[in-house]
């Protein structure tokens, strides 16, 4: 229990937590002790000396940021002597400081100078000497500038980079008055800096300021601040956008709010250029004679309605399908899903989750009853063991990774990585298991065998919380018996003792979290991989309490929400199966449609829709904010399928490889022009708020959808605004029942939130699993060899994935100057020995082909990050569409495609 102590500051009695930082305690009680080097998120430094106080029984003036509150402490924070000392310190600092400002940053130092009357130069005792100190400036970073003459050497940037972001890229150089901050060897642009900008956000003086739009940021002039949710990955970082003259000119992280507590990554902070990019779609387009011509909304929507209706009439209800979008809001997706179910009259609605975590979700639903992360993102910070499987989280979920690094670097947590490819988190890991691609089931079964044989199981948990109890364990034991150390080592290439150690650490940990990513899910055996993870977790009892569980970090901003609100061929809002009669009756009533019109048959999933289109069974499609022509597997096949459609409508913010094949293109709003909500990876419903006006005639997705429905004679309902759509979502899905926009004003709420009084659920499965019996289920599964293997003709195994600086099909990220400066070229990673064998050197261009297709002129990067015989390519780049090589064979349970494993050959000399 935390003990409270009472202290006095300037005679005012405060009750504070024992040991609390004295300066922070004062701040929280509105006692404004001046300070510059202290920041809530950082360890106290005591460098600026401005927060000095007097404490009874202690000698001298003491920096309050370095003192912990104790019972009976009598503190003087303000008297003439202290104030004079502070004025002296500020005066001294000023003499070494260039105080000119272009108004593009917040200046805490300047505020104090004014507060202490030192803006009046007559009151200063010390002449400026900064000009003679030869302070340099560093302009080499793509995203920021550093000016030593404005730096007060407070350590905030160094600690922001080290303690908050876990990167430790910055340091002081030289000593004494001559010292200043350095990134790399005084060249920030050549340092390890990845551009997250935490240092910018915490710099109190404008020594470190961002470059993009600096000439347009005028903080002393009229500007608007809008809190919203980041449009990139599924962490759901809370952003504050600064809008000036109708344009976003800056993004900051919102301090003190989960999940990011002010942190951002380079995409979140600098990736908003695309919103005002001239390439935005601004008017509806209709293809006439093979070319797009601009049309009015009426003309375009009339045509869409007519063609969709015609298709229904000619080919039947089930000949249409829709792709919803993980980029747009819950409200947009809910109405999209409602549109497909009530206007098309079928369940052919899916989206990119099918290509992402479908297998994870499927395994979790079958075993645990819920398909979402069981814990909160910030729980990683307090975990003592983090098992990271097929998940390059530093690049793909950078802010989640900051919590993981904190646990490893500052709390001694042990990180276990299972990944065939090196990822930057390996540097912080205790152990890195590097199995050959596609051998995860064998590895995990081996670990499970170790756990059972060494009696590291949690018998009580198994008996109480697992269906079948110890009998179920016996089945698992029998199945895993053959996965001996030698057998597993032979299949996976992982040394037996490393596998044993990893199993022991995980089983013995007090609060272990599993973070599983695309490496596990995007395989033909994706569901089996996650079944094995869950088996291991259940027999060790490592779920169902705060800080222990299984968490798939979601790749896109709203990939969680779109499933939650029911854009799925299999489930309605809140994960109720489409075949559930009672639910369909309930929803039909809410939607005010005849119950019989709601199709009880499951619809087609993402890749199945394309396959049906290829066979001529799907004749018309409505695609909202997706780009299957780059992201679907086996693209050549996808292209043929789309070309066979009678009619394709694509609704997006930019032209993409997919809009090129559309008959009608409808311009939609970006996140910054939309109102609504996203749901992030830890099930947090977060507000999205409009910051700027949409370009041209672009409209928010849900408005377009409702207009088409109306024109087809089946209106979806009338909604005044997004909050009314949300309220309907809350009525249809029990997990959201207690959430309304008014509750989300300050911060998000984690589902399930069944009632208005319910605070939300940070940790799932504490009491029961969400299965019918309330118990979790083991699913023992055997290792099966991959259906596609390296052979003489196609000797390499190709893995695909993401990088930090680009995002998905990069329609957004590549329209940002800063992000492109960091990374803008496709490449293939190849093991040094393979390169030698092929006679290749760094920078050579090669063609890569598989049984499905070929991509040309790819730059070779030789790297020890991949295993011998394995290659890696990012999938972001349209000029290197790696999905021309991948397969559309599907995992039978989840219908996910094996993006992570294709046999290919290298053709040199292109």
């Amino acid at each position: 229990m935390e003990k409270t102590v009472s202290i006095h500051i300037d005679g005012k009695k405060l009750n504070v937590q024992e040991g609390k930082n004295l300066l922070q305690a004062a701040k929280e009680n509105n006692i404004d002790i001046p300070h510059l080097c202290y920041h809530r998120k950082l360890s106290p430094t005591g460098a600026c000396r401005l927060c000095i106080v007097k404490i009874n029984g202690q000698k001298g003036l003491i920096a309050s940021c370095t003192v912990r509150a104790e019972e009976g402490m009598e503190v003087i924070a303000f008297d003439e002597e202290l104030e004079e000392a502070r004025r002296f310190i500020l005066d001294y600092l000023l003499s070494e400081h260039d105080e000119s400002s272009d108004g593009s940053y917040m200046d805490e130092f300047k505020e104090l100078v004014v507060r202490y009357g030192l803006d009046d130069k007559k009151k200063r005792k010390y002449a400026p000497i900064w000009k003679y100190l030869g302070y340099p400036s560093d302009n080499s970073s793509p995203v920021l500038t550093y000016e030593a003459a404005k730096c007060i050497k407070c350590f905030r940037c160094i600690k922001a980079c080290d303690e908050v972001q876990g990167k430790n890229v910055l340091s002081f150089t030289k000593r004494g008055i001559a010292s200043y901050i350095t990134g790399g060897f005084e060249k920030w642009g050549e340092s390890e800096c990845d551009g997250c900008g935490e240092c910018i956000q915490l710099c109190p003086t404008g020594a470190i300021v961002e470059k993009p739009h600096r000439d347009q940021i005028m903080l002393h002039q009229d500007h608007k601040k809008v809190k919203t949710t980041c449009p990139y990955c599924g962490v759901g970082c809370q952003l504050e956008l600064i809008v000036q003259n109708g344009k976003i000119v800056r993004a900051d992280g919102v301090e003190g709010v989960s999940p990011n507590d002010g942190r951002l990554c380079v995409k979140g902070r600098f990736g908003y250029d695309y919103v005002s990019h001239p390439d935005r779609l601004k008017v509806p387009l209709i293809k006439k004679g093979g070319r797009f011509t601009e049309a009015g909304w009426d003309e375009a929507l009339d045509l869409v309605a007519e063609k969709f209706s015609e298709t229904i009439k000619k080919h039947g209800k089930r000949s249409l399908a829709g792709y919803a979008s993980a980029k747009t809001t819950n409200e947009d997706n809910y109405l999209f899903m409602k549109f497909v179910r009530t206007v098309f009259g079928n369940n052919n609605v899916d989206y990119c989750t099918r290509l992402c975590h479908a297998s994870t979700v499927t395994a979790m639903l079958r075993s645990l009853g819920d398909g979402a992360g069981s814990n909160s993102i910030e729980d990683y910070e307090k975990s003592d063991c983090i098992l990271v499987t097929g998940n390059n989280m530093i690049e793909t979920h950078p802010v989640t990774a900051t919590y993981v690094k904190y646990a490893a670097q500052r709390r001694g947590a042990r990180i276990i990585i299972i990944d065939p490819k090196w990822t930057p988190l390996v540097k912080d890991s205790h152990i890195w298991l590097q199995p050959r691609l596609g051998t995860d089931v064998a590895l995990l079964n081996g670990m499970i065998r170790v756990i059972i044989r060494e009696e590291l199981i949690d018998r009580r948990f198994i008996e109480k919380r697992v269906e079948g109890g110890m009998k179920a364990l016996e089945e698992l034991k029998a199945l895993t018996e053959k996965y001996t150390l030698e057998y597993v080592e032979e299949i996976t290439g992982v040394p037996a003792e490393m596998m044993q150690e990893a199993a022991r650490i995980y089983a013995g940990a007090r609060r272990p979290l599993i973070a599983t990513g695309m490496g596990y899910s995007q395989q033909l055996t994706g569901t089996h991989n996650v079944f094995c993870l869950i088996n291991m977790m259940l027999i060790t009892g490592q779920i169902g309490r705060k800080g222990a569980g299984l968490n798939p970090p979601r790749g896109q901003n709203n990939v969680q929400g779109v499933s939650d609100v029911g854009a799925s061929p299999f489930t309605y809002p809140g994960y109720v199966p489409v075949g559930d009669d009672e639910n369909r009756r309930k929803v039909a009533k809410i939607w005010n449609v005849p119950y019989r019109e709601l199709d009880p048959e499951k619809g087609l999933s993402t890749v199945e829709i394309m396959q049906a289109a290829y066979r001529g069974e799907i004749r018309a499609m409505y695609i909202m904010g997706e780009n299957p022509m780059l992201t679907d597997p086996n693209l050549n096949h996808t292209e043929e399928a789309i070309k066979k459609l009678d009619f394709l409508v694509v609704q997006d913010i930019f032209h993409t490889e997919t809009t090129a094949l559309a008959d009608v293109v409808l311009p939609a709003t970006s996140f910054a022009e939309s109102e609504g909500t996203f749901v992030n990876s830890d099930r947090r419903v977060l507000r999205v708020r409009k910051a700027v006006d949409p370009p041209g005639q672009a409209r928010q997705d849900w408005e377009i959808i409702t207009d088409i429905a109306k024109r087809m004679g089946k209106p979806l309902g009338s909604y005044r605004d997004e909050s009314e759509i949300w309220d309907e979502i809350a009525r249809t899905s029990p997990i959201f029942a207690g959430i309304s926009f008014s509750r989300l004003e300050k911060q998000g709420i984690q589902w399930p939130c069944p009632s208005k009084e319910h605070p939300g659920t940070p940790t799932l499965f504490e009491e029961r699993f969400n299965t019918a019996s309330g118990l979790a289920k083991l699913h023992p599964v055997d290792y099966a060899e991959q259906t596609e293997k390296a052979d003489n003709e196609y000797p390499y195994i190709l893995n695909t994935g993401r990088i930090l600086y680009q995002y998905h099909s990069s329609t957004m990220s590549r329209r940002n100057v800063s992000l492109n400066q960091f990374a803008n070229e496709a490449y293939v990673l190849m093991h040094p020995d393979d390169a030698k064998k092929q006679g290749l050197s760094n920078g050579d261009k090669v063609d890569i082909s598989s049984r499905r297709g070929v991509i040309r002129s790819i730059t070779v990067k030789i790297s020890g990050e991949v295993l011998l015989g394995e290659l890696f390519m990012p999938f972001h780049y349209s000029e290197a569409p790696v999905n021309r090589l991948t397969r559309d064979e599907l995992d039978p349970y989840s219908k996910i495609a094996p993006f992570k494993l294709s046999a290919v050959k290298i053709v040199t000399g292109s």
């Binding site: 990167k167 430790n168 890229v169 910055l170 340091s171 002081f172 150089t173 030289k174 000593r175 350095t182 990134g183 790399g184 060897f185 005084e186 050549e190 340092s191 390890e192 540097k427």
Partner: protein, 155 residues
């Protein structure tokens, strides 16, 4: 030995940073740390470039610029100061034809200053590489410098 070989003599533990940097600097005929040496050190110890650079620029005994074969460090602590270290420095500058901080054109000598060398009883003092020279005056300085010049020829 190559840079990598020198570094690998030490265990990859952070506390070996200073030892590694000394070994690298001493092995370089120019008596300084190259950018490559710093980069290799950082990657071997798992440190960022700036951490290594910060340490290298903090300590005055490390240099990032090429220096002479012999580093002269004249003591400027109070006792030496009182016994006129200043004239010693001026005379050294004259004999070597360089200013403090510079390297002679034959790349034999670099003239630097140092805090107390612990030779107060025999002030004024200076060190040349690892050897201490005490009770300096104009004559002895000239003799000492000449001695090193000769030594360099016989090496």
């Amino acid at each position: 030995m190559s840079i990598k070989e020198i570094i690998r003599q030490f265990k990859p533990e952070h506390h070996n940073l200073l030892n590694i940097m000394h070994a690298l600097q001493n092995s370089n005929p120019g008596n300084y740390l190259t950018k490559e040496a710093l980069e290799e050190t950082a990657s071997y110890l798992g440190l960022t470039k700036a951490s290594v650079y910060g340490v290298a620029t903090y300590y005055t005994m490390f240099s990032l610029e090429p220096r002479g074969r012999y580093i002269i460090r004249v003591c400027i602590s109070p006792v030496c100061e009182i016994i006129k270290a200043e004239t010693i420095i001026k005379h050294l500058e004259k004999v070597l034809g360089i200013k403090t901080g510079q390297t002679s054109s034959d790349r034999l000598f670099t003239l630097e200053l140092s805090e107390c060398l612990g030779q107060c009883h025999k002030a004024p003092s200076m060190m040349i590489n690892d050897r201490v020279h005490n009770c300096l005056d104009k004559n002895s300085i000239e003799e000492i410098i000449e001695e090193y010049r000769q030594m360099s020829k016989s090496d």
